[in-house]
């Protein structure tokens, strides 16, 4: 009895060892649970989520146990734990954290000062919480928005988000972005990282770039308006339908084209007008003029592969308006692929089309959109990208699990639940891929034909998601069709397209280049989900078409084939076919217009003239343009003047105000030629949807040749010639006395030969993100640089002469140039390299070799981020130790000159005579310039006259 009593006394004496931690834990748990429930359960409406007291208590308890367990077991991220994810360290003062947490979610919206350590570099940053839903700011781990100071970039980003996993499987957005990348879409940078806050491991995060101008630049797009369409939660407008495509002026701009008012929404208003119109051939054609069907097809492929409907009527739209391509392009944002709520119930099949907005509805009526989507899906599977992505997903999930092992704040707290969710997630990705592949690539189809009752025609029936490139008809004897027409029934009338000039006959087979595809009809069915978007699907319906073959005995038809990239498939012959009218499929047969219109003589241009047909301009033609008049070519131009009879583009009257622009814009302008043309007296052209900042503009087309042409007397606008998103060869071209830059090339590939750029007000040639080969050209008396390259451009220049320019050449912002056998003399400064734009990590790199550099105001200069070097050149003068680097805003900074001379001296004889290898750092120019590089003479210094 007494021993029991003693034992109890001992227990009582030492009970605090057990009870004290219990009470501490209980009090901690009680306070946390009370706070959380009071804020998010009682005070704030976090719909569609809910904080119940029971769940809050359980969650807090689980978190406490997990944190203690990790503490006691010493489970912390280590270098040798197999996790290769990079680490982001945030440092915030207690006061800042308290301010952020004071009154969530509102308090979290205000930036606080902090520091970021990433890849061994420290940055001063602003930090705040971000995200619309409680998942971002209501639990243990908060999503952060990190903004660096201007001029400081973290891997090219000024703003990025550290986003918590919003689902049990954690990686929906991350893997969606990875897949979007593979499909060639504009996508924010995203990677999984481990985040530490004030030295304590906070857990696994997705580092996601905040969309901005830098996103566009990284995807080789010129800055333009990047619109955001959101009409949900805080952006909901009571009293409207809250459908984003019905309210174009409600969209905000994430990045803005500063050539227009910030409030301008002209492209969106145009899209709005089309979508609120009536779907028919003309409105669908107009839609194709406004949206990049190919990019939207990729986006649709992404939606189908990820089964996402998160870009819906009300939110998540990010559309980039490319002011130079004149098209909208989708930007991938928050699509939450393969999310549990968007998976089909039970045995229901996956959705083969995603129709979650009005724009989706319209796109699915456009035959070219359907064809393009098929192409991308086919390429995805046929190219093995599905397997590569699945392998990548597996690796990323593995890494995520490793990072989650020591994550005290993971949601859910139950690790087994995360593992199970990830397994389901992976299985669903596999299932979705296989279903899409089975239906698109390997799907069954019906292709049938029969002689039409009318005679001289055949009826075709097409039920397939796989488009064809052409229909081929084999005859058992010679046939000579006099005309070929495609006829479809719509609304009780026949709609005919003449394909005669596009069809070809060879070895007993008639090939009709019509890319047939089936209509997709609406299918409404309740699919057991609260998500009503799931109720609307599409099904392939047999689409009836008639080919009228005048002059052909259809009884002699042996076979009808569908021609595809992957082979040809037969149409099955049948006795009869009923003709089903086509309802919601448009732009099925739109053969390219290849008939040239001839232009000759004196042509007066008043106002803005659009030329949509291909044109051939005869030698001696003179275009007289009124003040402000512009000529916009939307198709191929063959302008072939002669030395004796050049083609002239000039003002109607001497002394008049300048005319606007001559522009060729669009892929259909490919292979245009301007030969022996003179262009003078123009300026530029700007309207809400279109802008040309030069007298002569080449936008968005390839294979352009400009030869033996002379340009002069441009006024008002910046450039004499502007090249954008194009491939152009200039040969024997003279650009005289440009108002500012003579030739401005952005995101293009150009070859400039035997040309001269005298007396430009600014640069002779200005390149941005452009690949260029400049040969045997003269830059003389240019007000600024002879050649200026910036923003990641690459240039090889051979045998060029720079005379009396302000600067011979300048390279900036990640650009690289090599000049050989050049002659730079009489310039105020021979060369300069510097870092101009804070968005770039480095300055410019210029190497000049086997050249003459002398009689200039100063020799090369380069700042600490750049490199300027002369190799084996004849150089006269001395390098300066320091110099004043001038900036666009007129300011200047004293810089240490890092330029250097290697094997240079004042004599004409080179030190090395071995052939020069192609510069390694210009590998991307090798296909363009390797043969010309072979002409570099290593036995001379300077130009070869």
């Amino acid at each position: 009895m007494s021993s029991l009593r003693n034992s109890l006394a001992v227990c009582w004496h030492w009970s605090w060892i057990f009870t004290l931690p219990m009470v501490v834990m209980f009090v901690h748990w009680g306070l946390r649970t009370g706070q959380q429930f009071a804020q998010f359960g009682l005070r704030i409406d976090i719909a569609p989520f809910e904080f119940t007291l029971r769940e809050t208590g359980k969650l807090e308890f689980a978190h406490m146990l997990r944190s203690l367990g990790l503490q006691f077991s010493g489970t912390v991220p280590r270098d040798d734990d197999g996790c290769t994810l990079r680490t982001v360290e945030l440092f915030l003062g207690d006061e800042e954290i308290e301010t952020l947490d004071a009154d969530l979610p509102y308090s979290g919206e205000h930036n606080q000062g902090g520091r970021l350590r990433f890849q061994g570099t420290d940055y001063d940053v602003s930090l705040r919480y971000r995200g619309d839903t409680v998942l971002h700011w209501g639990y243990f781990k908060k999503s952060f928005r990190v903004t660096t100071k201007k001029g400081q970039l973290v891997e090219g980003m000024r703003k990025f988000n550290l986003v918590v996993g919003k689902t049990d499987e954690q990686l929906n957005n991350h893997l969606s972005y990875r897949l979007a990348n593979r499909l060639g879409l504009i996508t924010p940078t995203c990677e999984l990282v481990r985040v530490f806050v004030n030295g304590t491991y906070h857990g696994l995060y997705e580092l996601t770039e905040q969309l901005e101008e830098g996103t566009l630049r990284r995807h080789d797009r010129m800055p333009g308006d990047l619109y955001s369409g959101e009409m949900i939660m805080l952006d909901n407008i009571e009293g409207t339908t809250n459908r984003v495509f019905e309210y174009p002026r409600v969209w905000s701009k994430v990045a803005a084209n500063n050539h227009y008012e910030l409030a301008s929404r002209a492209p969106l208003e145009r899209l709005h007008a089309i979508l609120q119109g009536n779907p028919d051939e003309s409105s669908l054609a107009a839609l194709a003029q406004l949206v990049d069907l190919d990019r939207f097809a990729r986006f649709s492929a992404l939606e189908v592969l990820t089964q996402t409907q998160h870009n819906d009527h009300r939110h998540n739209w990010r559309l980039f308006w490319d002011p130079w391509r004149l098209r909208f392009e989708p930007v991938v944002w928050d699509i939450v692929g393969w999310h549990e709520s968007m998976r089909p119930e039970g045995n229901q099949g996956v959705d083969l089309e995603i129709i979650s907005s009005q724009l989706h509805e319209w796109l699915h009526m456009h035959a070219e959109f359907l064809r393009a989507r098929y192409r991308h899906l086919h390429h995805f599977f046929a190219g093995g990208h599905d397997d590569a992505f699945l392998a990548e997903a597996e690796r990323e999930l593995e890494q995520a699990l490793l990072a989650l092992r020591a994550d005290p704040n993971a949601m859910p707290q139950n690790a087994n639940r995360i593992v199970a969710a990830m397994a389901d997630f992976t299985a669903f990705i596999h299932r979705a891929f296989r279903a899409v592949e089975a239906n698109y690539v390997n799907g069954t189809e019906t292709l049938r034909w029969c002689p039409a009752a009318a005679g001289g025609a055949i009826d075709l029936e097409v039920a397939t998601r796989r488009p064809m490139n052409a229909v081929e008809i084999d005859f058992d004897g010679p046939q000579m069709p006099t005309s070929v027409k495609l006829v479809l029934l719509r609304d009780g009338a026949e709609q005919t397209t003449d394909l005669t000039s596009h069809s070809s006959l060879s070895t007993g087979a008639l090939r009709v280049p019509v890319a047939l595809i089936s209509e997709l009809a609406r299918e409404f069915e309740y699919r057991g989900r609260a998500n009503s978007l799931r109720n609307s699907r599409r099904r392939v319906v047999a689409t009836s078409l008639r080919l009228v073959l005048d002059g052909v005995d259809v009884g002699r038809i042996r076979e009808v084939w569908a021609l595809r990239d992957e082979g040809r498939d037969p149409f099955q012959r049948t006795a009869t076919l009923s003709r089903r009218p086509v309802g919601t499929l448009f732009q099925l047969a739109t053969p390219p217009n290849t008939t040239f219109r001839s232009l000759a003589g004196e042509i007066a241009i008043k106002g803005v003239t659009e030329v949509v047909d291909p044109v051939r301009i005869a030698a001696g033609t003179t275009f007289r343009l009124d003040p402000g008049a512009s000529l916009l070519f939307r198709n191929r131009v063959i302008a072939e003047g002669t030395k004796e009879a050049p083609i002239r583009f000039e003002p109607t009257e001497g002394g008049q105000a300048p005319w606007g622009t001559i522009a060729i814009n669009g892929p259909q302008c490919a292979d245009s030629v301007f030969r022996w043309c003179t262009v003078r007296g123009g300026s530029g052209y700007k309207v809400p949807l279109e802008e040309y900042c030069s007298m002569f503009s080449v936008h968005n087309c390839t294979g352009i040749r400009i030869e033996d042409c002379a340009f002069s007397e441009n006024r008002e606008y910046d450039d004499m010639i502007h090249v954008m998103y194009s491939e152009v060869v200039f040969d024997r071209v003279t650009l005289t006395a440009a108002r500012a830059d003579a030739l401005d090339c952005d995101i293009s590939t150009v070859i400039i030969k035997n040309s001269s750029f005298p007396r430009s007000g600014n640069d002779g040639v200005d390149l941005m993100t452009t690949r260029a080969l400049v040969l045997d050209c003269t830059f003389e008396g240019n007000g600024d640089k002879g050649i200026s390259i910036g923003e990641g451009s690459r240039l090889i220049g051979l045998r060029n002469r720079f005379r009396g320019c302000s600067k011979g050449m300048e390279a900036k912002d990640g650009s690289i140039a090599w000049l050989a056998n050049c002659d730079i003399r009489g310039c105020k400064k021979a060369l300069n390299a510097y870092k101009k734009n804070w968005r770039y990590d480095s300055g410019g790199y210029i190497t000049v070799t086997k050249s003459f550099v002398g009689e200039n105001g100063s020799l090369p200069t380069a700042d600490v981020w750049s490199r300027a070097q002369l190799l084996d050149c004849q150089v006269k003068g001395e390098l300066v130790a320091d110099y004043d680097q001038e900036y666009v805003d007129g300011s200047s900074t004293r810089m240490r000159n890092t330029a250097r001379l290697v094997d240079c001296d004042g004599g004409p004889g080179p030190k090395m005579r071995l052939p020069l290898p192609f510069p390694l750092e210009l590998g991307m120019l090798e296909p363009l310039a390797s043969s010309e590089w072979g002409t570099v003479r290593s036995d001379v210094r300077g130009g070869v006259q």
Binding site: S15, W16, F18, T19, L20, M22, V23, M25, F26, W29, G30, F37, G41, L42, R43, I44, D45, T52, L53, R54, G57, K58, Y106, L234, I237, E238, G239, T240, T241, E246, Y247, R249, L262, A263, R265, Q276, G277, N278, P279, D280, H313, Q358, E361, W362, D491, A493, A521, R522, E523, F524, E525, Y526, R529, A530, S532, N535, S536, R539, G583, T584
Partner: protein, 495 residues
């Protein structure tokens, strides 16, 4: 318990506290784990405690309203408003704050206290800066006082220095915002701006997105899909879709804020294997926010229009194709036509420019769509909504900007008092050149006793009636000797 030293007593007390704390913690854990309903009940109690005081105070205010004690109601609501305090967008008390402020604004307006009403409206806007209706109410209030008129313009048109910053710029075809704004601009002589807004609104494309619901047993909000119908070359609107579900009823939600006429709406069905669509027998069910005129459905630019169809024979589950058709006619938004009829209408439509022409056309549409409603009493006891007839005025625009009309209003045999609802709102001047009671053969029995008519929201001026309110009416007693009167013939001019 033995008496010990103070440290011993403190240690004992400490251990006791820790033990009790531990037991409390343990019990809490047990309750959370094994008696979840108890936790839920506790949570419900907490929630109730969180909202009950406000609900009770609101109920008290409602009771005061029922008792017509507006002073007490106002005092209660003011107190409640202070207790609710400032609410941000996600606060659960936000709906209560909105409700209280809305009612307070009403009370202030009824009491003629426009300053307090304005304070209330500003509070409402602070609670929800994105609400069109709040913005409208605030703008109307601000426009009513010359001292705050500029603020109203800034609210709707934006800061002149910041292009596109106004609410009406963001929503350029929103009736609630445009109507007061155009009216204010016109009355301030800013006619070009007013015209521009109306022309933009008139040319602004209307929504086209439809929702179609279907159900088997009863209406199910989850059985819905959206689509955009197309209008065929023969002006027939058509929607096609395949369906598998069993269907007893169908409901169409045409686009909100759209204006058009859908005549002879029909459903068709094609069963699997059939060659042609067959009509699907239907009864028209409930409608909402649209006008039914015979077999025509008129969309008037309202929010959430709806029409329901009930199948005469329910369709079992199975593969079939549906088609909806209706003769389609685009019409001008009624609110815009009405806006062109307001007192500033003639000013706006006056001129040669394209904008003035658009306004004139809107006025023509507005006049043509006017309707005269006649209510009658057959016995003392007031008018009943069933005893009425609606007669389209079909007024045609004259050169001087007015619109002439001539209509016959059919009357029942037994009526004692007749009321004419002019239905034009606070804008019009009516000149009745002729108003006669006639028999079936058209013989004039008596002029209507216009000069003795009782007036509401309308007054005489120079032999013309001027509408002074939104509910202009005149009513007169049947004159003696008109027992055979079956028609009221009315001719005149509206300006």
């Amino acid at each position: 318990m033995k008496q010990g030293t103070l440290p011993q007593r403190l240690a004992f007390a400490g251990r006791m506290v820790l033990l009790v704390g531990s037991l409390l913690g343990g019990c809490t854990a047990v309750v959370f784990a094994w008696w979840p309903k108890t936790v839920d009940t506790f949570e419900a109690w907490l929630r109730e405690r969180h909202t009950a005081p406000f609900d009770e105070a609101w109920a008290e205010a409602v009771a005061a309203r029922a008792a017509a004690d507006s002073g007490r109601e106002r005092a209660l609501l003011v107190a409640l408003s202070e207790r609710v305090g400032p609410t941000a967008q996600l606060d659960r008390r936000r709906p209560m704050a909105v409700k209280v402020q809305n009612r307070l604004v009403e009370l202030h307006r009824e009491a003629g206290d426009s300053r307090s009403a304005l304070v209330g409206l500003r509070r409402l806007r602070a609670i929800d800066p994105n609400s069109v209706l709040i913005a409208r109410d605030l703008a109307v209030q601000l426009f009513s006082d010359p001292g705050t008129r500029a603020e109203a313009y800034t609210l709707l048109l934006g800061d002149p220095a910041v292009y596109g910053s106004g609410f009406a710029w963001r929503l350029p075809a929103q009736a609630e915002l445009l109507s007061p704004l155009v009216d204010a601009l016109a009355s301030d002589g800013r006619l070009d701006e007013a015209r521009k807004l109306v022309v933009t609104a008139a040319s602004w494309p209307e929504p086209k997105w439809w929702s179609i619901y279907w159900w088997d047993k009863e209406y199910d909000p989850l059985k819905v899909a959206g689509c955009q119908p197309r209008v065929r070359a023969d002006s027939v609107l058509q929607v096609d879709f395949f369906g598998r579900d069993a269907i007893r009823g169908l409901r169409i939600l045409p686009p909100a804020f759209a204006s058009c006429c859908l005549s002879d709406p029909k459903w068709w069905v094609r069963e699997a294997g059939d060659a042609e669509f067959q009509p699907l027998p239907m009864r028209r069910g409930a409608t909402q926010n649209l006008r039914e005129v015979g077999s025509t459905l008129e969309l008037l630019g309202n929010a959430d229009p709806m029409v329901t169809f009930e199948l005469q024979q329910p369709l079992p589950a199975g593969e079939r194709e549906f088609r909806f058709t209706a003769d389609f006619k685009d019409t001008a938004p009624e609110w815009l036509a009405r806006l062109a009829l307001t007192k500033c209408g003639p000013q706006l439509a006056d001129g040669d420019g394209a904008a003035a022409k658009t306004l004139a056309e809107l006025r023509r549409v507005g006049f043509a769509s006017l309707v005269l409603e006649a209510f009658w009493e057959t016995a003392p006891g007031g008018f009943s909504t069933g005893d009425k007839v609606r007669v389209p005025l079909a007024a045609s625009l004259q050169r001087d900007g007015g619109a002439s009309f001539a209509v016959d209003v059919p009357l029942p045999a037994e009526w004692t008092v007749l009321r004419l609802d002019l239905g034009t709102g606070e804008f019009a001047t009516w000149r009745f050149d002729c108003m006669e009671l006639r028999d079936e053969g058209g013989v004039v029995l008596s002029p209507a006793p216009l000069q003795d008519a009782a007036l509401h929201d309308v007054e005489w001026k120079d032999h013309e009636l001027i509408a002074t309110g939104v509910d202009a009416q005149l009513q007169f007693v049947r004159p003696a000797g008109t027992e055979r009167a079956r028609v009221l013939h009315v001719e005149g001019l509206i300006r």
